[in-house]
Symmetry: D3
Subunit: 178 residues, 6 copies
């Protein structure tokens, strides 16, 4: 990561949680680039069924997984949402080291970076029938086998933080009188 | 309320409006505690069909009702929403006097306080078929008898602020060309 | 616009985009008033299918159209949303020159200004089957003839900013793995 | 506090801490009005030498003092600063029950309420050589006798929250290398 | 302002108030460009001695002055401060029509636009001993002749809004006990 | 970093820029702990003489330096300021992986973590006459030898981003007429 000619890629995701599809994408991007900046999106959110884990918990999932994989040429950057799309690229640019190319399949992310003249590449499709955050969170709630879809260190982190209990509790119906 | 050993409970609600179910809950909580902190949630919102009344109007409904009931051992605290669940307990702690126990049936509120090691107790169920904000607001809009479901001072406050006219107007269809 | 006795009207819209219905409304309001303040609402939003254009782009659409129409007695004011309805009228009052009357069909806008003792008048209905932002944006996405529903300068501005490409890209399905 | 003809006064302060001057002012205002709304200003701030106490701690100081004084016709309302003066009166109006008169010696508060057509009255001067927050906080830091300038319940609250230790620690020089 | 090849300049100021120096600068910039975007900076502030006038009041000062001067090829855009310099250029770009060149003597503004590859030109110096907001506001407070340093329409606006009374009141010492 | 029994320390600084004193502190902390979380404070600020570098630039300075030093057991977390001290510890907890001990000499940071029952340790004093951000930034502005006080990779990063030109330009006097 030391050369000033390092060619850096940018990838953003919510990583709720970081799963095997994410890991595969990171590895493929690193075949084409010297290093990768992994933006942890919607960083301020947590404790909802869609965003159950905090940015710090997701940071730990990713860094522990990549260490286990002996991947070191990455930068992890939590990125809070801003409420104006027109500011978002500048917001990312301020928080992350400079990058040369953006990988995304999200139409909005693609559009915003394209309007700022970035090169944007599509992500490879990797087993989208199983490896999506939505399906994995559903399995967590229903008590099905979610562990097979995430790296082993992610299982460890979720256990340490009592994550399954959290997402299940959050998924129950609100019975509050007020 | 003077002893430093005062045992305080915390209850949060939106109180749109404060109704007989809320009053019953407050009284039951006070049987088990020296005093109650009543947090007026979503305090910044008003003038929508779901949140028609301002925090100040809800403050008046509650304090006038409790005065009529000769209840004085309470603290009323408006609490604006914060957009990050991870900050919410600290936000409440900064705005309210210290408390020993939380009463809620809301899964998120329960989870957030539990993770911060608070004792959390469930609310009693009190006539949930009639005493809910949603039903009372519907009756206000439809011109049905909502007054029987709220304390008399709440009827007075809503009349003073022309509240029925407000919620009805807000419930009409938007015909705006822009 | 020089007299201190100038009678000013206030009109707010999102103008996504500014269309022939808006132009007709502006002209009719100017028959009853010395000048008009045109508030560009939700000014901070852009790059969504509902709010595709920035406040600056909308500013250009409106000012170029009104110049073509030889209308000069107007004030254009971008107005960002505030997240509390109770602050909104003061927010508008701070950003805009003083005004004497509000034109709107929106129940919330009507209510908020009425509670602050403004005179509020209804907007005339002008060809609502064709001249609505929703329909025009749908036509843009589907490749139908949207140009006939907006003033010619608006067509020019949208071409200059590559607006049709933008709204179509934003309307595609999100295929992002993260 | 029940009559709809209740004449209410509004007073705002930071109450860092609530002292004998404040208590005297509250009593005098209550001689001229049916009830008083006490706004706890700069409610979001704490843990600085100028704003050492949280809104919740100040709430407790004031309510415990007024209970000891057998004063019950008051409303306590924490009011966070907004960063735009033009919104401040509406912000107060949304958080507090309606009021008829404002008591202040602050030129900005006076101006803002006057421009919104409120009646504004001056505060009585009460022993300003001793009873100011600045002097009392200085005494706290220096270890001088600050207790004589505040009501007894305020002394109790500050002891319960370990307040003197807090303000002293905050007043030490920053020795942080970063 | 209709041609798509219109060459636009961007100028930002606080215009507290708009004075003869500002007017001279606007005219000179228009000799070199087809049109000018005038950004009203720190738009959210008002009612302080440094920022006495609201964005709406400043809007009126500028538009009335330019109408009297028969200048029409300008765009007036209030621009609220953002609390992160790294977002500021994008914030301006979202609120204003596109522009080709920036005029400023402010080192920060110059730097921020230069890093985003804008052409930045220096402002001409015009009678800086008299024509500065600071000096004019001092004269207003002291009761000296400030009217000679601003365009006639600005005098009118300030009279209409009772501006001299406002800035004088705000400049008095705070005597508030709380 | 893989064990669930990993003992983690937390250090926060602004790192404007990251210098030899910071590096020495990081190394000493790592002698007492398994890993370190380095919080990049005031992350949203940049382009001022006190905070010249963006969070992303500081991220690069630190990660490149630690790679050169063969230090890998660290987590880098940008932390934006929040405007309420009472929320700050929760804000840090949400953004960072869990930690066991805090290192700081800052009285406020010490107090806030102590009130939340964290163990807080003092930082070692390391050549404070030379290794402070303030002095290094002054040398940058005056053209003196600042390079000797920062790790070699920091010199490289600052050159790549043209950092000296930036801080010098920002330090010049504002000559803006507006």
């Amino acid at each position: 990561m030391q050369s000033t000619k390092e060619h850096r890629a940018f990838l953003i995701g919510r990583f709720q949680p970081f799963h095997l599809g994410h890991l595969e994408i990171v590895k493929r991007i690193l075949r084409e680039n010297d290093s990768i900046i992994i933006g942890i999106g919607s960083a301020q959110y947590s404790h909802t069924t869609v965003n159950p884990f905090t940015a710090g918990e997701r940071h730990l999932m990713i860094s522990r997984t990549l260490e286990r994989e002996h991947v070191y040429n990455y930068y992890l950057v939590p990125i809070e949402d801003v409420n104006a799309n027109s500011l978002w690229v500048s917001h990312v640019e301020a928080l992350a080291p400079k990058f040369d190319v953006v990988y995304t399949n999200n139409p909005l992310v693609r559009r915003l970076f394209t309007e700022k003249h970035y090169e944007v590449r599509s992500l490879p499709m990797v087993n989208r029938s199983e490896w999506t955050g939505t399906k994995i969170r559903e399995k967590m709630i229903k008590g099905e086998n979610w562990e097979q879809n995430v790296p082993e260190p992610v299982v460890e982190v979720i256990r340490e933080i009592d994550g399954i209990s959290r997402i299940r509790q959050l998924s129950t119906t609100d019975e509050d009188v007020p």
